[in-house]
């Protein structure tokens, strides 16, 4: 049966790879609604190829333009448009691949609307994991992780019981700077930081990989998705990104999911779950690899990861501050306004000045998110 998909963040890295999966399987999947940001040229091509019923763009003026060009497509814009895409009546699955905390509200609305949700927007769980998981439980919604690490854990959990989990082991490639000492991180350029060894991803997540904040956000995401305390989530450096993550069960048995680094595999799994669909292309060849390496993650060298554990353990609104400070600081780094090590300094400063609010509601989260961004920007 044709599965109808709504996609938030179509022009991003996960978005375009989701479209790859849809394109490769026209008898399985149909794009029914999508959102893009400001890349209207790309959006036009996507409308031509996939003929969605609904598209939402970021700006009103872009929406007006597109409306004139396509009479057969409903065109919306802004936050309201995102929610309409997320909740589109015909969609069976929402793929939430927008970047940053803007993904939160549409996710909650889609849960309310009873959609299955493939979630690639980790900030949603980082800033409001308690609200999202509570809503999902109430509506009995399955949240399908798209991140390779969480997809690996989710796959390893199939046929198993959560009560038997002893530890989650999240692997980390180590990012662009894994072979540099802390001293070597002083003065690194944006171009260097954007050079990820294994994965082809968007700019923000690639910087997060270099600073190890990406792994920190994943730890928090895993905490919420799998309901596991932080003490039972371990990060291990594994430079080849072949073992995507593992579950250690309390009988000492470890289940892992492996594969070549290709985001289309976890994306497709989320779309076909609980079944699997044939994918052509490269297979894992361990003999060709020869060796897989595992190293301890150095929390002193990668302080963002330590901050994420700290924010997660403190809980409440602290993870919102962690995430907002990081988003703001990474933007400033990408604009060459601050240095790479300033990112973690700004996050630390933002966290240290924050008064935690426990179980914040959506409005409070939104406020704290905005305040933190303004605060961090004011330090320039």
């Amino acid at each position: 049966m044709l599965k109808k998909i709504s996609l938030l963040g179509a022009t991003g890295s996960i978005g375009t790879q989701t479209l790859d999966v849809i394109r490769e399987n026209p008898e399985e999947f149909k794009l029914t609604a999508m959102s893009v940001g400001r890349n209207i040229e790309e959006a036009r091509k996507m409308i031509m190829e996939f003929s969605p019923q609904l598209i939402s763009v970021q700006r009103k003026e872009d929406a007006e333009l597109l409306k004139k060009e396509w009479s057969s497509v409903k065109v919306l814009y802004g936050e309201e448009g995102l929610v309409e895409v997320a909740c589109h009546q015909d969609a069976d699955v929402l793929v939430n691949a927008v970047l940053g905390s803007v993904g939160l509200h549409p996710t909650l609305q889609a849960i309310e609307a009873g959609k299955m949700i493939a979630i690639a927007n980790k900030e949603t769980l980082v800033t409001a994991g308690h609200l999202v998981m509570e809503a999902a439980r109430k509506k009995n919604t399955t949240l399908l992780p798209v991140d390779s690490e969480h997809s690996a854990i989710f796959q390893a959990l199939q046929g198993e019981q959560e009560k038997n989990i002893e530890k989650l082991i999240i692997t980390a490639s180590g990012g662009s700077f894994r072979d540099r000492s802390r001293e070597d991180l002083v003065g690194v350029t944006v171009t260097e930081a954007l050079n990820h060894p294994n994965w082809s991803m968007g700019a923000k997540i690639t910087i997060d990989s270099a600073s190890m904040m990406n792994k920190g956000l994943e730890v928090i995401e895993a905490h919420w998705l799998f309901d596991i305390p932080y003490d039972q989530i371990e990060v291990v450096q594994h430079r080849e990104s072949i073992i995507h993550s593992m579950i250690q069960f309390h009988d000492s048995s470890v289940m892992a999911q492996l594969g070549t680094p290709d985001m289309r595999v976890p994306i497709q799994y989320a779309l076909t779950y609980p079944d699997r669909l044939i994918r052509p292309g490269k297979r894992l060849d361990l003999v060709e690899m020869g060796k897989l390496h595992f190293e301890e993650m150095d929390l002193n060298r990668f302080r963002c990861l330590a901050f994420a554990y700290e924010a997660g353990r403190i809980g409440g609104s602290m993870t919102t501050v962690l995430n907002a400070a990081n988003e703001a600081a990474v933007s400033m780094f990408l604009e060459n306004k601050i240095s790479f090590l300033d990112i973690e300094a700004y996050i630390e400063k933002a966290m240290s000045t924050h008064q935690v609010i426990h179980r914040p509601d959506l409005e409070t989260i939104h406020e704290i998110d905005q305040q933190t961004r303004q605060l961090v920007s004011s330090w320039l």
Copy 2:
């Protein structure tokens, strides 16, 4: 609820480790029936400790002895005794840990009696996979693999569908002689062959590991257990024995089970399936390991593995010949009557002279098994 266990082959390596698991979990497991061979001294200790209702020994005279010593325990002997242990009315699970094709008849009887079967006796599936699997299907019996490789595959298959399997990847430590060239295998001693790098096991299986016949038997066993063609079963050398085996699915995703080499883990899993029970003791530490290695399996150096694939592909009675010739030859090697490389020469010779019978019945299998042993012995 207390699970009652009958155990064939209690004094062997798998047998004693099964008793370890029962001993460690007195509120979960109770030994209700057991068989031993000629090690009566050990049997006495086991009766004292576990108070089974029924014990069967190999020889009548040993049975007479034990009967006099214990009035509260039913004592039997021989093939008939094995079957009674296997089918003991109180047993929920049969652990079949006897060595060699003697395990076949009791397995079939236990399936008829509706027992769950934890199968460590690989010769049963190698010599009569078609009969065992057909009986299991008819009775809707779950065969729970105990071998670490098959347990890994079985665990990786939980929550998955067999139709989505693209390939089984069975790992092989490489055995005692993995770092020797074929020339170096000339004249190796029994002591050298018995020195397995990772696993502590019985003599026969350790020799089979050195000759790679053990991996060959496992390939055939996997073929039957998981209903997978031989072309979709691959063997990869992995010297650390940490990844116990893997399934590659047709979406390119690979699921693996990992752990320190300890047979009590898969034994316990078979006894607790589909649940898992806390096991104390050592955890896998990948950082401590540092590296995992993968190498191509050299089918020219390890000809027994090639013979097993060949016998499996030919099918019918050929795998019975493979197994019987191997059992006879390994016995002769352990008695210093033939050289290590003679083992494969004898197997090759036995296979080359055999006229295959397709879908042999139990009697035919038994005859061919006996004939092959006599034939191989006659070559001395």
